[in-house]
């Protein structure tokens, strides 16, 4: 178990703040006055444009006067008490039916004779190969055992038969639909839903680490957010000086870069200024020496490392509001396995990452909401390669102190053939935006959900508790 004494020199850095948002010493550029045509989303009037677009689109909601009243042109409710939002996107279409298994459905077991997961009470299977019972109807995949205590403590919930209206079964369309917060792939808004959330929350948080994506490329959900940063490793996010360079030389180079990036108004210049501000902040919190608390051990994978760094940023009090992470490897057309195998090892990493994060954050989980989502689920019937093809509905996972957990939320359509979409796939009975909008409304920003998901009146499921 790692303790504070394990840290040399900076024993208490993570608890040093508590004063709210850290402010970088260098003055950050205000938004430029005009910008390159190719990046219209990044223009200085971006926020007005977005708000304008949102307003135009919520015109339909006029019948709902409260929805309109919520949309004032001047954004500005401070959001210091909002939860920190962590969004994990499982890319490739994660097989919801083998993640949260409707084990009481005979059609499930009939359709998945090779890759199906045995019911919790199925004595023909070894105990370790059976689903972990959640409520007498659904069970978790056995590889998700690390999450069992969180479910029992009421911190973890699932929303099943959940998805978007996208009918293409295309990864890219379905991902773009969800990351832009749209009903289906055909509609307008090019900005990401997380970017719209950020632009609605003008809280004066100047942090360059307000929104961070742990990925080599910026995800669509943050598209249009000038205050977002994409990086893969906090500790490697530094200028690497030619041999023999000291801090003086680094400062000189940084000053030179600042002068190079001072004037531009295009997407690259904006990103350059953002990058320099992040360098400044990370210099202070020393992520290379981060030690998780409470004996938390993150798995050594893409997601485990990402969650560890999210924890580091939260404890470093650098002004993080949103973290986006992703994990690929869910496109299990072939050999997806059953209680063991490909899907199981994916679920193992996700589950251990979430469990470690919850342990590491301890009481701070009360102001953190984690959402795990995927672009679509997979076909009910297994294919000839012992895998599953692209389907429709999947399952969303929610973790946090503000989640009404210990429950599987679903309007279960059943797996009967006539209930399946096109006779093949689990039908979407809960729109993914219902879940996101409720998190936004109850845990993040009260009533602004309408501007973040325009043209949509979400149906509250009760998955989140109102923020105290």
């Amino acid at each position: 178990m790692e303790t504070r004494t394990g840290i040399k020199g900076r024993g208490d850095w993570w608890s040093c703040d508590g004063r709210g948002f850290a402010r970088p010493e260098t003055k950050r550029e205000t938004e430029p006055r005009d910008a390159c045509e190719t990046v219209s989303l990044l223009t200085p009037t971006r926020r007005q444009v977005l708000l304008g677009a949102a307003l135009a689109l919520v015109g339909w909601a006029a019948k709902d006067s409260t929805a309109l009243a919520d949309l004032t042109i001047t954004p500005g409710k401070p959001a210091e008490r909002a939860d920190i939002l962590v969004v994990i996107f499982l890319r490739g279409g994660a097989d919801g039916l083998n993640i949260v298994i409707p084990y009481r459905e005979d059609d499930y077991h009939r359709s998945r004779q090779n890759i199906g997961i045995a019911a919790p009470d199925d004595r023909r299977a070894a105990a370790a190969d059976r689903a972990i019972d959640l409520d007498g109807f659904y069970g978790m995949h056995p590889a998700m055992a690390p999450l069992r205590p969180l479910y029992e403590q009421g911190l973890l919930a699932f929303v099943h038969a959940c998805g978007s209206g996208d009918q293409t079964r295309s990864h890219f369309e379905a991902m773009a639909t969800m990351e832009r917060g749209l009903p289906d792939e055909k509609t307008g808004l090019a900005s990401g839903w997380v970017a719209r959330y950020l632009s609605q929350t003008e809280n004066g948080n100047p942090s360059p680490l307000r929104a961070v994506s742990f990925s080599s490329v910026m995800p669509d959900s943050l598209r249009g957010a000038t205050d977002a940063t994409a990086l893969t490793s906090l500790s490697e996010f530094r200028l690497v000086l030619p041999s023999g360079g000291g801090s003086e030389r680094e400062a000189a180079l940084r000053a030179a870069l600042e002068s190079l990036y001072r004037e531009g108004k295009d997407a690259v210049a904006l990103a350059g200024r953002e990058t320099l501000a992040v360098l400044e902040t990370l210099n202070r919190i020393d992520p290379a020496n981060y030690r998780p608390a409470n004996g938390a051990t993150y798995p050594d994978g893409e997601l485990g490392n990402g969650m560890r760094q999210v924890a580091c940023l939260i404890k470093g009090r650098v002004g993080l509001e949103v973290a986006c992470l992703e994990r690929g490897g869910w496109d299990t057309h072939v050999a997806q396995g059953s209680s063991g195998g490909w899907l199981a090892s994916n679920l193992d990493e996700v589950s251990r990452s979430l469990a470690a994060f919850a342990a590491d954050m301890g009481a701070e989980m009360s102001r953190i909401s984690v959402v795990v989502m995927t672009e679509f689920g997979r076909r009910l019937v297994e294919n000839g390669g012992l895998g599953t093809d692209h389907g429709r509905a999947s399952v969303m996972w929610l973790l946090g102190g503000g989640i009404a957990g210990g429950k599987v939320y679903a309007r279960w359509p059943t797996l009967k053939r006539e209930q399946l979409e096109e006779g093949l796939d689990l039908r979407v009975t809960t729109d993914y935006r219902d879940v996101l909008a409720e998190i936004v409304a109850r845990r993040l920003l009260h009533s602004r959900a309408a501007a973040i998901f325009p043209n949509y009146t979400p149906r509250m499921l009760g998955v989140a508790k109102d923020r105290a």
């Binding site: 940063t229 990036y261 990103a271 057309h333």
Partner: protein, 499 residues
């Protein structure tokens, strides 16, 4: 333990010839670095349009290229690039020597380790892109490699991809799209990547069928349905990869026993039963001739060379596709000669474009080896390693997070921090006749950006570079301790990230 031909060669080399061979190839490589031209002075006028053209047609101008193209004229330059010869200069051939993954067939590559194949494939891609005079072909190789993306870490991908790169992508990069499509559909690397090798009668796998229509031909709104996906998947059952004992493993094979030979209906056309492999061939013909394919390929080509192209350009290019049976050259020529290409907003370089353009601009000597490839990974674009079938993104917004890694690449490159890759700034300044004095910063900016230092767009950059150099005095012999870092800053500048 089985010892094969390659192991024998390796053992032989290790036993003594190794040192000699290595030393020899290094000497050849050094000799094979292109010589700097007599003068680096840019033409006195009309530089901007030529620089823009060269930046779009190629991976970026090396020293002297702007002057050469100015003398050649726009039409002749584009014609030259549309018709590359088959030969390669010593700068390419000497460096490619010994990259076995590119010299042998698919089955044979099985003796190499996966990481080694991937290393060699990336080396070859970098070497071609940096040194080949056939730059447009190399850009099209990059384009099609992403269009028909294959993730080398999935299954046997690394072992099969070298053949795909040679026989599919390189063979047809400037040919006819239907030929390229057919070659890709018969490529074991593609069939294996998109799981078609396990698709069989009764239980077809939809992965290839779907991406074939969504990403390779029609585009997602090209007019197909979920039913079409299922029918096309049935047509391609039995298109698989040879895995039999004593057979040419890793070759394409049609297995009639796995094929569902019943009649099908694809995009409103009936494909009769009993055609065997012919059913898949028929699907490829339907797709290659489809107007949605013409439009989809046209829109991607326009975006690649023109950025957010005007609708009229996409329409025009799609018409050319339909009139010429998908002739890639015929589609490219008007795009490359267009005023649109000169006037449209700049396009952000992807990391591979950025790295190659930097190496070209500074006339670097590189073997394209692992240390260089690691920088590409840090910038977010390790080649052949994008897991999804859509290829690396071409949106500017996707790449703005890679700036720090780009800055670090420049600093490492100019400080000799990348083993196997080097630059000689002194030689460049000598050729630019700017060895001493204040003109050095301007000269470095001119070499890197291929734009005149006295042009308006260059003023902020030149000012910053001059200020940086003024931090320290010149040495007694006239040289300057900050020359390399100044060049690195030019590579790091916002201007150099655009093309």
């Amino acid at each position: 333990m089985k010892i094969n031909r390659r192991d024998c060669l390796r053992l032989g080399a290790a036993a003594g010839a190794g040192a000699l061979l290595t030393g020899c190839s290094q000497a050849v490589r050094r000799f094979a670095t292109p010589a700097l031209p007599e003068t680096l002075e840019l033409p006195s006028d009309n530089v901007e349009p030529i620089t823009r053209l060269v930046n779009r047609v190629s991976f970026g101008p090396p020293p002297g290229e702007i002057t050469r193209v100015a003398a050649l004229g726009r039409d002749s330059y584009v014609e030259e690039q549309l018709h590359p010869g088959s030969g390669e200069p010593l700068a390419v051939s000497a460096r490619l020597r010994g990259l076995e993954a590119f010299e042998v067939g698919a089955g044979e590559v099985g003796d190499l380790r996966k990481e080694e194949i991937l290393r060699q494939m990336q080396m070859a891609a970098i070497i071609y892109a940096v040194y080949s005079p056939h730059q447009l072909r190399e850009r099209m190789v990059d384009f099609w490699t992403n269009h028909f993306n294959i993730f080398a870490h999935k299954g046997a991908g690394a072992f099969l991809k070298p053949t795909d790169e040679l026989k599919v992508i390189r063979a047809h990069a400037l040919g006819k799209f239907p030929d390229l499509l057919r070659a890709s559909a018969h490529s074991p690397a593609m069939l294996s990547y998109l799981d078609n090798q396990v698709s069989r009668r009764g239980i077809p796998n939809e992965n290839y069928a779907r991406e074939l229509m969504e990403l390779h031909t029609l585009g997602v709104h090209g007019g197909y349905t979920q039913r079409d996906v299922q029918e096309v998947a049935r047509c391609f059952t039995g298109w698989t990869v040879e895995e039999g004992f004593l057979k040419p493993r890793g070759r394409f094979r049609f297995d009639p026993d796995l094929h569902d030979d019943g009649p099908k209906e694809v995009l409103g056309q009936t494909i009769p039963g009993g055609l065997g492999k012919g059913q898949g061939d028929r699907v490829l013909e339907i797709l290659a001739r489809h107007p949605s394919t013409a439009r989809f390929i046209a829109s991607k080509l326009c975006r690649y060379f023109l950025g957010d192209a005007a609708e009229s350009w996409i329409e025009r290019t799609a018409q050319t596709y339909l009139q010429t049976d998908g002739d890639i050259r015929a589609m490219l020529r008007p795009i490359l000669l267009s005023q649109e290409l000169l006037d449209s907003p700049p396009i952000m370089k992807r990391p591979f474009d950025f790295m190659v353009s930097a190496l070209r601009a500074l006339n670097a000597d590189t073997d394209g080896g692992k240390p260089l490839q690691e920088h590409l990974t840090r910038m977010g674009q390790p080649l052949y390693q994008w897991p999804m079938p859509d290829g690396y993104p071409d949106r500017t917004a996707a790449w703005t997070g890679s700036l720090l890694a780009r800055w670090n690449f420049g600093l490492a490159l100019l400080s000799g921090g990348i083993a196997g890759t080097s630059t000689d700034i002194t030689a460049i300044l000598r050729a630019a006749r700017a060895q001493t004095g204040a003109r050095r910063a301007d000269a470095l900016a001119e070499v890197v950006l291929a734009r005149r230092a006295d042009s308006e767009a260059m003023q902020p950059l030149c000012r910053s570079l001059r200020a940086y150099m003024e931090r320290m005095p010149a040495s007694a012999d006239g040289s300057h301790p900050l020359l390399n870092e100044t060049a690195a800053l030019a590579l790091a500048s916002p201007l150099f990230q655009w093309r």
